[in-house]
Amino acid sequence: MDNLLQLIVSGLATGGIYALAAIGFALLWQTSQTVNFAQGEFVMIPAFFILAAMKYLSLPFWAAALLALVISLLVLGVAFKRAVVDPLLHSGFVPLVIATLGLSLFMKEGVKIFYSAEPQPFPAFDAAAKVSVFGAAVSMQSVVVLGVAVATVLALQLFVARTRTGRCMQATAQNPMVARLLGVQVDRMIQLTFLINAGLVTIASILVTPIYYASYNNGETLGMAAFIAAIVGGFNQIRGAIFGGFLLGIIDNLSAAYISAAYRSVLPLLLLVLVILFRPQGILGRVEERVL
């Protein structure tokens, strides 16, 4: 029983990591029907902004993190939308997918050349600290990741449902044409979503890099896991992202413990296939209501 609890708690902690990255998929899809295949790299790169600021500008960690947030908002929020998404959005889905795939390669190779291929340790809140959850040991870092993932989803849900700006974003997501007729500044709402995503990936980067270590290829694994989590949970639901992340984390651990360690990566893919076959909108997702 202790072992099962340990596996579930650890799985939830890992699922929290996937969820943090998956939220961005859901956000961008909802407002601009953009599937950002560079989302994993978006989570990877702010950690290197921080490390570079600490190394080359000799800034303390928190000052470097603030600088990284500003750079991320400008590069991953504003520049990404204006330079990549806006020119391609009207060309259809496929060109944008190819562009984000290209962007992910560019970011990965850029970090490798500019910084290093070697994984770097990254400052954690307290690397050695661990907490006991009903006898199951879990790192403090993972608890923080879990807490932030849940808090982020709650905050986003409240923002979208309870604020005027949030409702405008929702209207933009569902029917941009009608939203525009009703006076919603659609472009502004879409830009806001990209900025929120840029902020979220910076937070995610600060939280998950101590676990992953700062490495140029972190985005590959993280991006793929987050993408699966978002589809399984429901691509058009923010809460679906967190549900998918948790589910993936727990399934991964239970299959490794009770089925086979060698085939642990097969089960999440099997789940993905089943969801696409029998519930394509995702477990918590709703049938798409968006009008182009």
């Binding site: 890992t14 994984p119 140029y216 694994t221 651990n253 490794a256």
Partner: protein, 383 residues
């Protein structure tokens, strides 16, 4: 205007005439290395070790008066890409080929170099690589067929282990490690009670550690790649497992120690080379490397650096750039640091290209490697 018109053809002709003379001043070496993918840490260190040796040799006048023209090709830790790059390397017609490091890449590329009769100095450690009757293949580190029996002996004699659990990287080298170690353990009366594959992208090792806690073997043997090893050590530390952890060069790698932090303290393992070797020449290399690249070298940097110097030494002994003469000289060759300071540990090669030299059992103490035993050379090569 007419003068200007004549200037260009004259300049071109002058360059064309001078090209062969310039080419004679260099000797081409191609290096295949993993600068991205799961082998990036190993490949980057290998690459930097090669570069450092080449720069030093060129600064000192080159080999037989010819400077080394080094070309690096990146394999992306992908056997398919590695094979394409090896074909490019062979087409470039170099004097020798360095790399690749990962055994699964070596296995699919070594035939091309052999067919072209180009000597290859590889970082691969899998035991089968030198069993292919390839006279052009040379190791730059000890084969697993030598290292794993020493590790098994250490677990048996010093840790009094009777049961072992193996965590292995889910690739050819990992599988080979598991198979050879299982055989060697059995020969000493020890039993491998479980083995579990892992992946460098694996984030969560809770299930693996839970299994280890349940089975409680006398020793946990870890052969995963760097990032996975660091995460594994942290999970072991988190769940409070106190079973002795033993491994080889990857477990003891400086990158792993740095990433795992206090969780690496107390692990022990066998290394062919280490940045803490109690040797002034090795320490001088470590200091130079650290100054040049801003980080501590690992065993891959050390072995590639020494390999370039071994090629220089053997070529100068042969007295000409002749590939067949080079391989004939190197089969059965022993170099001492007195003869060639760039090879800072006495090293020998046998007729199959297997390398032999002293190796070490090290432990991690307060985030630093510490040598606890020096193991003599295996003794299969002429000394």
């Amino acid at each position: 205007m007419a003068k200007k018109r004549m200037l260009l053809p004259l300049l071109t002709a002058a360059l064309a005439l001078s090209a062969p003379a310039w080419a004679q001043q260099t000797v081409k070496i191609v290096d295949l290395c993993e600068l991205s993918g799961s082998g990036a840490v190993d490949g980057t260190n290998w690459h930097d070790g090669v570069n450092m040796a080449v720069n030093e040799i060129n600064a000192a006048g080159g080999i037989l008066g010819r400077k080394i023209d080094i070309i690096h090709y990146e394999t992306q830790t992908d056997p398919g890409v590695a094979r394409t790059q090896m074909q490019k390397a062979v087409d470039a017609d170099p004097y020798v080929i360095m790399g690749p490091v990962m055994s699964f890449e070596v296995r699919v590329t070594m035939g091309l170099a052999q067919h072209a009769k180009i000597p290859e100095f590889s970082g691969g450690e899998s035991s089968d690589l030198t069993a292919k009757e390839n006279p052009y293949f040379f190791r730059t580190s000890l084969s697993q067929q030598f290292s794993l029996p020493m590790i098994a002996q250490y677990m048996h004699d010093d840790l009094h282990a009777k049961t072992i659990m193996i965590f292995w990287e889910n690739d050819d080298t990992g599988r080979s490690t598991r198979d050879v170690l299982t055989k060697e353990a059995a020969a000493l009366g020890m039993k491998v009670i479980a083995d579990r594959p892992g992946d460098n992208n694996q984030v969560d090792f809770a299930a693996d550690v839970v299994r280890a806690k349940t089975l409680h073997p006398d020793v946990l043997y870890v052969h995963l790649q760097e990032q996975a090893t660091a995460r594994f050590l942290q999970e072991i530390h988190r769940q409070g497992v106190t079973i002795p952890l033993v491994g080889d060069t990857t477990l003891m790698a400086q990158t792993v120690i740095q990433m795992a932090g206090p969780a690496a303290d107390g692990v022990r393992g066998w290394v062919g080379l280490s940045p803490v070797l109690p040797d002034p020449l090795a320490q001088a290399f470590v200091a130079k490397f650290t100054k040049t690249y801003g980080r501590t070298p690992d065993h891959n940097a050390m072995k590639s650096y020494m390999a370039v110097y071994a090629i220089k030494y053997a070529t100068e002994k042969v007295g000409k750039f002749d590939r067949d003469a080079l391989i004939n000289y190197m089969h059965g060759m022993t170099i001492t640091p007195q003869e060639e300071p760039g090879v800072f540990i006495k090293t020998s090669w046998d007729d199959n290209g297997n390398l032999d030299r002293a190796s070490y059992i090290v432990t991690v103490d307060s985030g630093k490697q510490k040598v606890i035993a020096v193991l003599p050379p295996h003794g299969t090569t002429k000394q």
